[in-house]
């Protein structure tokens, strides 16, 4: 006899695996975006880093 409970959990397991792999890419992008935002924020709030950033922008 088909064990419905097992089958439902098994299908959920497949669904979860598929979806999590797809969302992983989204997670990576969010993390990268946050790191970049923090880096930019860090430069803006730190005067010496701001000076360095300005210098590097002027550098040929």
């Amino acid at each position: 006899m088909l064990n419905h409970t097992k089958r439902a959990i098994w299908l959920s397991l497949l669904h979860f695996t598929g979806i999590i792999y797809w969302r992983k890419e989204v997670g990576k992008k969010q993390l990268l975006l946050r790191l970049l935002t923090q880096e930019i924020g860090g430069v803006q709030s730190n005067p010496s880093l701001k000076k360095d950033a300005a210098k590097s922008r002027r550098a040929p």
Binding site: L2, A8, I9, T17, I20, Y21, W22, R23, V26, G27
Partner: protein
């Protein structure tokens, strides 16, 4: 996610984890105790792999593998929710399975566990929580299509869950 992508990602993931061929299909042939333990181990490994890759920081691997799966403060599930990989329904599914798995492994008397008896021992609220959490798949239209699951068969499976 379309059916082809789902199949491809699950196969790719099984390969990355060096699982024996046919592992997932073989789960359905296991007794209920082994099924819960292996399904949970599989999902934990999937989550760990995905977190390691998402963080892009291989040195974190040793820390991540040691994290508890469903610790409500700092478990793997919490990390996955925080970075948007898991939504509420997925979190609920994993927590319910973790709870069941922990009950089973911490008492040797549960070796003969089976779902039918387990469900008959739950009160109405517990049964509803169990059914809702573990039938997480039912929101996936492509999965239903792949396994030729009509609304009726989904209902049967859900009824099966509740005994």
């Amino acid at each position: 996610m379309d059916t082809a992508t789902l199949q491809q990602t699950v196969e790719q993931m099984s390969e990355e984890m060096s699982l024996p061929r046919g592992f997932l299909e073989g789960l359905l042939k296991e007794d209920d105790w082994s099924f819960v333990i292996k399904a949970h181990a599989f999902l934990e490994a999937v989550l760990t792999n995905v977190l390691i890759e998402a963080f892009q920081w291989p040195e974190l691997k040793n820390l991540l593998v040691r994290l508890d799966m469903s610790d409500v403060r700092i478990g793997k599930v919490k990390f996955a929710v925080a970075i948007g990989i898991i939504k509420k329904d997925g979190e609920r599914f994993l927590r319910e399975l973790s709870k069941l798995r922990n009950d089973l492994v911490h008492d040797i008397g549960n070796l003969g566990f089976n779902f039918k008896e387990h469900l008959s021992g739950l009160d109405r609220n517990q049964e509803k929580a169990f059914v809702d959490s573990l039938s997480y798949f039912a929101s996936d239209e492509d999965l239903k299509e792949r396994y030729k699951l009509s609304e009726t068969s989904c209902l049967i499976i859900r009824r099966g869950l509740s005994g």
